[in-house]
């Protein structure tokens, strides 16, 4: 009963004379275009004494260029119904937006100007600084964020870039200067750190020409991206409790360091995580914690692709009285999968799901853009969507058992809980 997958992707890739990579995928669902500008300039590459700088740069980068004021930029985008989103993760700062096909060239021109010539006006830095501090204060009041950030700290240590909160701290944001922003932009926003993905109602070669024209004459060196510092695997159980008295519910974040996206066993880990905490409502974890014990609205695990050993994170939100029972249930599921691996049926169902979900994953312009950006970043190849089914189907029960055994062990789990006593 396996769904037949017909690959929809046929991306066009061009390396511009200045070294930038442009990928275009034509789609015909609606007269809209999504564009993603990704730069290898994420939090890994910020100075260790400037935590949060890459994220903060994302708040200011689109607030003025050498020739356009923040108002000018807002005018072009707002008038066309475009909301520019800047996201920052460990490795990449991404500018992304969707516009009507008729507005593609106008919006492209503004984004290219922002990427090349961001001016970081002092007045804008001060406005965005106050917003950033408010956002960090909001995070401090959020049980989910507090637990997740505490887990990152336990897993990687405060000094490792993967261990720090992406937004930094109030203290670090207060210290950022315009020079810090200009320096980060100068070092890490350059043609060779950039991948542009365009998906939508465009002609591929014409869109690539338009991008090439928008970046014509932009040639500059950049600092070599930083290698991920070594990660020391935890060998003993660690636990951290954050008390937040007025809250109704406690959030649990429980996890391990795992593997790099570049690791050849990545697909085995992906399948293993799906069985543990994704399949259906949330894999074995939700079956136990939500369906059998009725303790949580959400219980799941996630496993994000990273250059270095990324975290495998289990999350659940429960009544404060049920925290110990929930941790015991997580221990039981983690222990069982780590010890015994998955059943034949689980493996078959998960593979059928993951392979069958590829067309759905690649349905919207935004999801295609994200997929192609990831494929380019990790050098997975432009035909990755066509190779993926066979890569997944090659995963065996032994592979899943080995992946689970290498990561899942309650005796070395890190556990953070935020909520009432």
């Amino acid at each position: 009963m396996t769904t037949v997958v017909s690959s929809g992707l046929d991306p066009y890739r061009r390396v511009l004379p200045n070294g930038a990579v442009v990928i275009v995928q034509e789609t015909a669902f609606s007269p809209a275009v999504t564009m993603n500008f990704g730069f290898r300039a994420g939090s890994l590459d910020e100075p260790d004494d400037r935590p949060g700088l890459a994220w903060f740069l994302g708040r200011v980068i689109d607030r003025g260029t050498a020739s356009r004021s923040a108002d000018d930029i807002a005018e072009v985008l707002d008038d066309r119904g475009v909301a520019l989103r800047v996201t920052t993760n460990r490795h990449v700062v991404t500018l992304s937006c969707t516009c009507l096909a008729e507005d593609f060239r106008d919006v492209l021109e503004v984004l290219a100007d922002v990427a090349r010539n961001a001016a970081f006006p002092t007045e804008e830095i001060e406005k965005r600084r106050a917003e950033a501090i408010t956002a960090i204060r909001q995070d401090q009041d959020n049980t989910g964020v507090r637990a997740a950030e505490a887990l990152q700290r336990l897993l990687y240590g405060e000094r490792h870039p993967y261990g720090r909160p992406a937004k930094g701290s109030v203290a670090s944001v207060e210290r950022f200067t315009r020079d810090d922003l200009v320096a980060h932009h100068e070092r890490h926003f350059a043609p060779e750190t950039m991948t542009i993905v365009i998906v939508g109602d465009v002609r591929a070669a014409e869109a690539a020409d338009a991008v090439q024209a928008a970046f014509d004459g932009w040639n500059k060196p950049h600092s070599a991206p930083r290698d991920v510092p070594p990660v020391v695997r935890t060998t003993a159980r660690q636990r951290l409790i954050i008390e937040m008295t007025d809250k109704s519910q406690s959030d649990i974040a429980y996890g391990f360091t795992s593997i790099s996206r570049l690791d050849p066993t990545y697909c085995s880990h992906w399948v293993m995580n799906n069985i543990l905490g994704q399949f259906g409502l949330g894999g074995r974890l939700a079956e136990n914690i939500r369906e059998k014990q009725g303790m949580a609205y959400y219980a799941y695990s996630s496993f994000d692709p990273s250059l270095g050993p990324g975290p495998l994170v289990i999350r659940a939100g429960v009544d404060p009285a049920n925290v110990q029972r929930t941790i015991a249930a997580i221990d039981a599921e983690v222990g069982a999968l780590g010890r015994d691996g998955a059943t034949d049926r689980e493996l078959a169902e998960t593979l059928q799901f993951l392979v069958g979900s590829i067309p759905r994953m690649l349905e919207t312009n935004q999801s295609i853009a994200t997929f192609l950006q990831t494929a380019e970043f990790f050098a997975l190849g432009l035909d990755y969507d066509r190779r993926l089914p066979s890569l997944l189907r090659a995963v065996t029960r032994d592979d899943v058992r080995a992946a689970a055994a290498s990561v899942l062990d309650p005796d070395r789990a890190s556990v953070a809980v935020a909520g009432p006593k």
Binding site: R80, M244, Q352, F353, G356, E363
Partner: protein, 426 residues
């Protein structure tokens, strides 16, 4: 799009879209938290949860995995006017998805132990929402703005009702509302319309039609004076919410209000399933320039949602660190009063309409979102609402917008909510 009825009254809306080998099936019921009697608040949402807990021919532990075999995703949601269930999967799943929805409509098990287990899951969902001060404030403001109409209680229900409702309450609600006469089945994707009709007849044709329950809700009396609610709890950030009684989707004032909201806070569009998840374009919006750019608020949002009966237009503001709520409220009120007195400029109205036109394109970017819009408006407003929407939107003038601003956004029709954070130990 093809519209058809089975003999038992089930309405079918089918749209073929052959851009990807996918199908999205949604089954909509004309029941939501606005239909709940006192003492049973939250019953519609709890029933939605129970409808994933097993049917005569799909035991609970087999529900998980059926859609996944086709690479599919599934979900459901409940709001004030509607309850809906969806699956989007490879097109070969069509027959299975129709089978699931027919089972859900007619043959839910409602086993007592499953009802009990779900009670605590829902209480956990409620408590998770209470952890968020902004959400907590929204519930308090809505409850304060309405006195008689059942839109006043949150869709998840009041905690005491969730603790006291019984299996029979749930099952009674399910049997009353889950009948073909009260439902619409929407199918969008890489399908053949005739085949969908045949298969729908196979799966749903044998279900007794029932009757569509009358929706008689108490009318909300006209609000004659400002109302206020102040929450003080441990926290780090202050929030302000302003809410006014607003027209329902079918009212002639609805689109001018939608344009007004776009000009004040940025256009969201009309898809509450997807559009409201990302930030709208708002840097030129009135309240953004007056409050965020002036350093009084770190974020502003507006919600003018399409509903069956008059609901609320609300504006939510996050106070900037160090800004007092009374200063933020005064500045927001002053800007809204300016719009009430002088209206918007021609440019603002043109921009807002252009934004909305773009958002209507962006929010139908998948078979899932196309199907949502078809089913949502069929259920909430009745047929025809979407057909001439772009034309009606284009016809909105600055005079319309000025008129609705002056009439709806008055002080005596508003409810003001403050969340004032108490630092630990204060």
């Amino acid at each position: 799009m093809r519209a058809a009825h089975l003999d038992n009254g089930l309405k079918l809306l089918i749209q073929e879209l052959h851009t990807a080998p996918l199908v999205s099936v949604w089954c909509w019921y004309r029941v939501g938290s606005g239909d709940e009697p006192p003492g049973q608040t939250g019953v519609s949402h709890w029933v939605e949860h129970m409808n994933f807990k097993g049917t005569t021919n799909i035991p609970r532990d087999e529900m998980k995995g059926i859609v996944e075999k086709f690479g599919g995703t599934w979900n459901g949601y409940t709001w004030i006017d509607q309850t809906t269930y969806l699956e989007t999967a490879g097109k070969d799943a069509l027959d299975t998805l129709l089978f699931i929805e027919a089972e859900r409509m007619a043959r839910g098990l409602y086993e007592p132990q499953e009802c009990e287990s779900e009670r605590t899951v829902i209480i956990s969902e409620l408590q998770g929402g209470e952890n968020d001060p902004d959400q907590l404030l929204d519930i308090e403001v809505t409850g304060t703005a309405f006195r008689a109409h059942p839109y006043r209680h949150p869709t998840i229900g009041w905690i005491d009702d969730l603790r006291s409702m019984t299996r029979d309450d749930l099952y009674g609600h399910y049997r009353r509302y889950y009948v073909p006469q009260n439902a619409t089945l929407v199918v969008v994707g890489d399908v053949d319309t005739e085949e969908v009709l045949r298969r729908a007849e196979t799966h749903f044709g044998g279900i007794a039609g029932g009757t569509s329950p009358l929706r008689q809700r108490p009318a909300e009396p006209q609000q004659i004076g400002e109302r206020r609610v102040v929450l003080e709890r441990e926290g780090t950030t202050a929030y302000l919410k302003l809410a006014w009684h607003a027209p329902e989707a079918r009212h002639a004032d609805f689109l001018p209000m939608l344009v007004l909201d776009a000009a004040l806070t940025g256009a969201k569009g009309l898809n509450i399933w997807s559009s409201f998840r990302g930030a709208p374009p708002q840097r030129r919006a009135r309240l953004y320039t007056a409050l965020v750019e002036k350093g009084l608020a770190s974020a502003v949002g507006g919600a003018m949602l399409p509903t069956r009966e008059p609901f609320l237009y609300s504006i939510g503001l996050t106070a900037m660190e160090g800004v007092a709520l009374d200063a933020l409220e005064a500045a927001a009120t002053a800007e809204i009063e300016r719009v009430r007195v002088a209206g918007l400029t021609e440019l603002e109205v043109t921009r807002a309409k252009r934004q909305l036109r773009a958002r209507l394109v962006f929010e139908t970017d998948s078979v899932t979102n196309v199907a949502h819009q078809i089913g949502y408006f069929e259920t909430v407003t009745g047929p025809g609402f979407l057909d001439d929407l772009p034309a009606r939107l284009a016809a909105v003038t600055p005079a319309h917008v000025a008129d609705v601003a002056a009439r709806y956004l008055s002080r005596e029709r508003r409810t003001v909510g403050w969340f004032r954070p108490l630092k630990g130990g204060e």
